[in-house]
């Protein structure tokens, strides 16, 4: 017990600079909420909404400036969703998957680009909302709900037939999949972003100048890739639920 206590002491001591696992807690009734996650997610949401409003405030037939940029973003998202879900049904899913991508991407990059450390919080620190497991699991569970909704809406109760088709032998695996999908989605994103921030933080602690820069650049790259992977997998899961196995 003493050793364990010493370990936690060492842990809190060495990580005190990084402040992993410390939260700026808010209390709402009987529930606690991680305030720093929400604060930062509001910044991200604000950015997205402002960019959208700026792009669509004065829509031109020949786009320019911010509208052009946001159209480029939208076309990227549209192509991503269309590639995953297919020409016929992709339109309904552009908002959901697109928002997943945008929210995760902007969150990741905000965590990697903005020196949040400069803003003092009573406890914890501002960081990418996606380095909190609550956020990633929330997004992953929404994805699960989305593909269940997609399957049930298209096929009704016969959607559940895919558990025993082509053979009931695979039933346990098929059921297991519904749990592994959100699990892998949320942990992949959470792990990548947290690990990236930790690596950068540790390197900054060790060598404050220049050495962490390549790792930061790598962090930007992985952040973008993780957003793309999350959105692509969400699209793939929804497509899997929509696809007809009979024809």
């Amino acid at each position: 017990m003493e050793i364990l206590g010493a370990l936690t002491f060492v842990n809190t001591y060495t990580l005190a600079e990084l402040e992993v696992g410390e939260h700026f807690l808010w209390k709402i009734g009987n529930f606690t909420v991680h305030g720093q996650v929400f604060l930062n997610s509001w910044i991200v949401i604000g950015l997205l909404v402002i960019a959208s409003l700026a792009a669509t405030r004065n829509i031109q037939k020949i786009p320019g400036g911010i509208q052009n940029f946001m159209e480029f973003v939208l076309e990227f998202i549209r192509d991503l969703v269309r590639n995953q879900i297919g020409e016929k049904e992709y339109r309904d899913w552009v908002p959901f998957i697109g928002t997943l991508f945008l929210f995760i991407f902007v969150s990741n990059w905000s965590g990697a680009l903005v020196p949040w450390k400069l803003i003092e919080l009573p406890s914890g620190e501002l960081a990418a909302p996606t380095n909190d497991i609550n956020t990633t699991l929330a997004l992953a569970l929404l994805t699960s709900l989305a593909y269940f909704y997609a399957g049930l809406k298209k096929k009704g109760l016969s959607y559940f037939k895919h558990y025993i088709e082509p053979t009931p032998v695979l039933l346990p695996i098929a059921i297991l999949e519904d749990f592994t999908k959100p699990l892998s989605l949320s942990f992949r994103l959470f792990g990548n972003i947290l690990a990236d921030e930790l690596v950068v933080a540790v390197l900054v602690l060790l060598v404050p100048l220049f050495i962490p820069l390549p790792v930061m650049a790598l962090g930007l790259f992985t952040s973008a890739i993780q957003a793309l992977v999350f959105a692509t997998l969400a699209g793939a899961y929804i497509h899997e639920a929509l696809v007809d196995h009979h024809d």
Partner: protein, 143 residues
């Protein structure tokens, strides 16, 4: 690190709200713009294709008309040439005929005059021979 609390459901709700909000201010208007632009380009494309086809058909029509006009002019020239040839042949034939008839008339006249001349000569033969005789011989002898 893995401390789940009310952040999770609240974040989920917040994300859904963000989706709805972005759908209203981002996806819907911009998708509409993209679709409209695509429609516009497609209609412009078909419109220009129509115009091109029309222009080509007009060119073809004109070419056909030109060919027809050329054929007609060719026909006209040939006809005119044939007519001219016919006219010349008839004229030449007529002229030849006239020449022939004139020549015939001339020969006839010559024949007539010849005959007349012979006749007068016949008549004069007697008196002339008498005169010759009178000249050579003694006129008394002749009487």
């Amino acid at each position: 690190m893995f401390d789940f609390d009310a952040t999770l459901p609240l974040m989920a709700v917040q994300f859904l709200l963000l989706t709805a909000l972005l759908n209203a201010v981002f996806y819907k208007p911009l998708m509409k713009v993209l679709d409209e632009r695509e429609d516009y380009l497609r209609s412009g494309d078909t419109g220009s294709k129509d115009k091109l086809a029309k222009a080509e058909s007009i060119v073809k029509e004109y070419e056909r008309q030109i060919a027809q006009a050329r054929r007609e002019s060719q026909d006209l020239i040939q006809k005119a040439q044939a007519e001219a040839k016919e006219i010349t042949t008839t004229k030449v034939a007529a002229a030849q005929q006239e020449v022939q008839s004139q020549r015939e008339a001339a020969t006839q006249e010559i024949e007539q005059q010849k005959a007349a001349a012979f006749a007068t000569l016949e008549q004069q033969v007697d008196s002339l021979s008498r005169q010759i005789l009178e000249k050579i011989l003694d006129p008394e002898l002749v009487k």
